[in-house]
Every structure is written in C-alpha cells, then in structure tokens.
C-alpha cells in the first residue's frame, strides 16, 4: 500500500522536524524528493541520510521570484512534479494590539502566498499530465484560532480556503488538493516548553500526549497516494482528539 515508486515530490520547509519527516516518508515509499528549506546544513544532512533520489533546493519563500524559480527547479531536477507538499511556515507571535504590519505581512507571505504561488506553478504541469497531488500543511489553530497568533491562524485558515477552492477547480483532472492540520506535535519548538507547560498541554489532549512528526508524515503519505484518489478538498486533522471538527 502507498507505493510512490516513480513519483516526484517537492516538500517545502524540509529542514524542519515535520517537513523532514514528510520527505522521509514520501522517499521511503519510493518517491524522488526535492527538499526545500532555508537552512542549507539541515537539508544537506537530510539529503545524505536519504542517499539517492533526492535534490536539495534552498529558496527564500518570501521572494516571489525565488518561489517561481523553486517550482521550475523542482520540475527541471526531477523531470516532473507529481506531489507538492506546502509545509514551510513561520511564526511571528504577538497580541494584535502590538502586532506590527511587518509581522503580519511576513507570516502571510511565507505561509499563504508562497503556497498559492507554488500551487499555481505546480498545477500547470499536473493538468497536462492529468494527475497530481497537493497537500497543504495547515494547523489546528487555523480552525480554532489562538490568542497571540492572529497572523499565523489567518494564514493557516487561508490555506484551508485555498485548498478547497483549488480542489474544486482541478478535480476533473485527477488532481487532488487536501490539507493536513496537525495539533501539538513534538518538535524543536515544543522542546523549549517547560515540564509544567507540557503537562498542561498534554492534559488538554484526549490522547494524553503530543503527536510525532512521523504521525503527520503518515497522513501526508496517505493523501499523496493513489489510494486517496477520491479524497479532495478535505482537511485531515491529526491532533490526538484535541479538537474534533
């Protein structure tokens, strides 16, 4: 099940915990992967770990021309682009009262606008080939909201709207567009929380623990597979029961 042999995938934000796990999962299922990120060293380490069928493509997603180039480079390096995973994301938290325009713009640009640009670029080739998979990594807070993260939550809610609209536009071409919404996932970011904070978080999750990057990657792998052909426009929540939507 979930064989991606011969398929090509671009994963943005692969220098992070979740993105790296997604790249590994798709690669493990046989896909050739292009890994994007901002931290070259982390990408090179991941590439070395994967060995073959991997291309390293760093780019600054806040620059439109670099986003366009990334899509072109991915297609050029792999010959096609069958699977696009928009995983890259940044946060610039703060209460709205104190949130600067730059903080709002930066988060919307990288999280939402870059995802739109990559979708637009990728879908051209997918339409010609009459097949494709796009998976956008959103977040539970895109649905529930979160104080101090208006920009981040807006960008993640925006990705869900983008996902649903594009899914309707291209469904007739055998292209599916879905979102995966992680809840609390143990990453470098959550490692910084103290034990008290972690205990409080775990108490709010029915499963009683944070999720792992691999559990997010498994959801992405499913949506990228041939088996998920009839699933489109959906948001798959992977959150240990924290929110049931």
């Amino acid at each position: 099940m979930f064989d991606l042999t011969g398929k090509t995938a671009l994963v943005t934000g692969a220098s992070g915990g979740i993105g790296g796990a997604i790249a590994k999962a798709l690669h493990g299922a046989g896909a050739t992967v292009a890994i994007h990120g901002t931290r070259r060293e982390a990408l090179d380490t991941l590439a070395a770990e994967l060995g073959s069928r991997v291309h390293v493509l760093p780019a600054n997603l806040s620059k439109p021309e670099e986003v366009e180039q990334l899509a072109k480079d991915a297609e050029a390096a792999m010959g096609s682009l069958d699977i696009l995973v928009n995983n890259a994301g940044i946060t610039k938290d703060g209460l709205i009262l104190r949130m600067k325009d730059e903080d709002w713009d930066a988060v919307i640009n990288v999280n939402l606008t870059a995802a739109f640009r990559l979708c637009r670029a990728a879908v051209k080739g997918m339409m010609k080939r009459r097949s494709g998979r796009i998976v956008n990594i959103t977040s539970i807070v895109g649905v529930t909201g979160n104080p101090g993260q208006a920009n981040y939550c807006a960008s993640k809610a925006g990705m869900i709207g983008l996902t649903k609209s594009l899914a309707q536009e291209v469904a007739s071409r055998n292209i599916t567009v879905n979102a995966v919404a992680p809840g609390f996932i143990a990453t470098a970011m959550t490692d910084e929380l103290n034990d008290d904070q972690k205990a409080r978080i775990n108490a709010s999750i029915p499963a009683g623990r944070m999720g792992t990057s691999e559990e997010i990657a498994a959801a992405v792998l499913y949506l990228a597979s041939a088996e998920a052909a009839y699933v489109t426009g959906q948001t798959l929540h992977v959150n240990g029961g924290m929110a049931m939507i």
């Binding site: 051209k124 339409m127 010609k128 536009e169 291209v170 007739s172 071409r173």
Partner: protein, 77 residues
C-alpha cells in the same frame, strides 16, 4: 495567416483530443468540441506559450471559436 491557423488547430486537436476534421474555423470550443471551462483556460495558456503573446482575461473570454483564436493571435503576433 494560414500558418497561425494551422498551429492553432494543431493545439486544439492535441489538447482536446478531437478529430482534425471537426476543428473547423467556426467550431465552438465548448459547444462543438466538448471543452469545459478549464479546457478553455488551458487552451489560452497553450496559445500564449506557442505564440509567445499574452492574452488578457477580457480578450480570452471572447475567444469562443477556433476562428476567434486565429483572429486574435494574428492581430497580436
């Protein structure tokens, strides 16, 4: 002129997978050649690529038949 017409027809045949004989100048993409709205957008993009011209949205909306496409491209190119 005839060169443009031939290239346009070739793109339509390839893209919509229809018989060449059906692609007459008066054929409507949607009514006669079975295109859906997404096909018409793809055709416009294929024309842009083939002829290296830009077809603005308001002009693209008026390209309903093979002849419309040939006329627009002949003027633009």
């Amino acid at each position: 002129m005839s060169d443009v017409a031939e290239r346009v027809k070739k793109i339509v045949v390839e893209h919509l997978g229809v018989e060449e004989a059906k692609v007459t100048e008066n054929a409507s993409f949607i009514d006669d050649l079975g295109a859906d709205s997404l096909d018409t957008v793809e055709l416009v993009m294929a024309f842009e690529e083939e002829f290296g011209c830009e077809i603005p949205d308001d002009a693209a909306e008026k390209i309903l038949t093979v002849k419309d496409a040939i006329d627009f491209i002949s003027k633009a190119a």
